[in-house]
């Protein structure tokens, strides 16, 4: 049975796995404007050297990520995709975003680690699965993240 969806959220961590998730999503949607790409940034550490001595701010980080997202979407023939940059815990932010845009599918790559690696690396995909308001398509990834 073919998978149909008209509002697809693809979380982007700028790895090769998230790039291939865009390709999978493009196979499902009718046109790229139905794609919603989101990148979640970790909260800024107020005691980091970049904040205390450099010029790192949430605005500067958002601008950099937005530029990178635009570039990534462009190279995957998805320039019309909607872009979002948020700050927080990745799994929860992705689920929240899916709720906001009334997504009917989230496509996310996952390592499927178990044992020691699972214990130490955790899983964003797992958290998304637990909180998602819609279907979730998990793609097996084999890269080093």
């Amino acid at each position: 049975m073919a998978l149909h969806a008209s509002t697809v959220v693809v979380p982007i961590d700028f790895s090769s796995a998230s790039a291939s998730a865009i390709n999978t999503a493009l196979e499902i949607v009718e046109n790229p404007s139905q794609l919603y790409l989101i990148h979640v940034m970790l909260p800024l550490e107020t005691m980091s050297p970049g904040v205390l001595l450099g010029d790192v701010t949430d605005a500067s980080r958002t601008a950099k990520v937005t530029t990178a997202l635009k570039k990534l979407a462009g190279t995957h023939k998805a320039a019309d995709a909607h872009l979002a940059v948020t700050i927080g815990t990745p799994g929860l932010e992705i689920a929240d975003y899916a709720q906001r845009v009334k997504a009917d599918l989230i496509i996310i790559p996952s390592h499927g680690y178990h044992g020691l690696k699972r214990l130490f690396l955790g899983s964003v995909a797992e958290r998304v699965l637990r909180h998602a308001p819609c279907r979730v398509l998990v793609l097996r990834r084999f890269d080093q993240e």
Partner: protein, 525 residues
Amino acid sequence: MSPLFLKLFFFFTCFCLTGYNGVALAQGPEPSSSTMETDNGDLNKEKAASIATNIDSQFGIIVENMDNVLFWKPVKAVPIPLIVAILLCGSVFFTIYHKWLNIRGFKHAIDITRGRYDNPNDPGEISHFQALTSALSATVGLGNIAGVAVAIQAGGPGAVVWMMLIGLFGMTAKFNECTLAMVYRKVRPDGTVDGGPMHYLEIGLQERGFPFPIAKCFGLVFAIFCIGGSFGGGNMFQANQATSAVRGMIGDRPGLDWFFGSLLAFLVGLVIIGGIKRIGQVTEKIIPLMCGIYVLAGIIILVLHANKIPEAAVLIVRSCVSPEAAYGGFIGVLVQGIRRAVFSNEAGVGSAAIAHAAAKTDEPVREGMVAMLGPFIDTVVICTMTALVVIVSGAYNTPEAGKGVEMTRWAFSETLSWFPTVLNISVFLFAYSTMISWSYYGEKAWQYIFGTTKKAIIIYRILFLGFIVLGAVASLENVITFSDLMILSMAFPNIIGGVILAPRVKVLLQDYWRRYKADEFTVYE
């Protein structure tokens, strides 16, 4: 059970296995029977003092147990703890292996720090100069002011020679670790950087053919000690000595340590939990000025006592080669010198590599060379200057001079009566900036183990603030031993891993040096 709690369980089991095995037998001091005769206020004060003594004695037992394990002396006839031997051999190895880069690369390191090669478009968060300032704000502090006094008190004037030597050799150890941190750092799409020994040990060792569990183990052991270091030397020692400075200024008052410890925790909490970055920014910018004032005051004292310097130099050298038995003989002095120097400049420990990893450059070797200046400024310049002031003033053999920071204050005030006020402000600011910098190091290590979730981060930050209060009420002896144990133990995985990965650094250095000599670098000034 969630992964976070599994990880927390794992971490605390490790911590308890290393240190807590004797606490169950601890006997707290008996409550005073005289309390019945005192009024309510006195009762509360006595209660507070009793709690403080109790905490300190429990803490002392933990420290003693940890000391037996981590400061293990493999050869009974030569009482050098294994970790001190690793630090000494490691620093000498890096210096010889990188062909005395600390000397041949010194001028180039200064040129880089001046911004001669700063390309604003390179990846990273901060300039070379800012990276050095950031790393120095964590190392220059009470280790230089109080640590030197502790070294002279415990190891005699001869310890200064070893401090200087380990400072010089430590420069190349610092180069090696900071270059590695740059090679294996991760630049996130938002421009921020994640780097440090936990990352280069895990990835680098796998590249050298080590299986994942072993490489991960190196990273984890480092991270565990780094968290401990952030609670010890980066926190409790600072809080303890800052409280001691306040006590020296206004006199000992009941409950002062609790009050001042809580005040410090509140002020640090404003930045690390409250997110008020402005306070941290201002402090970081004042630190170089305070360093300048401190060094200037030291120079003034030394110029005024210029006639005593040759005598002090002879005393230092003589007590280095033939030390008094009271200081533990030759080995005792050597161990004290190395402990206090490494505690102060953190070379071989790997902490500064976390800050240097944020530098804006695409040349890892270049940042390594900047980092090399850290131990020079910290130990060879500032510690030596403090030591000379303590010796020429005679404070080191004057019992009423006190110990730690009190001895240094006494030494300075002998010549400059106005200086104690400036020193107290410096001590507070140094302690404050060191605590903020170390909270960052510790948090990076914590994130490596427990992940980047909000819950995990807030647990660390609350623990960090708790240790500030504990540091203020505990005794200097216990605090300094705990701090040494944690900070020096970071060198176990870091130096062993650093030696295994040194060939990678050497290849990069040779290529960089060839291009530098061929004048191939773009100059931006």
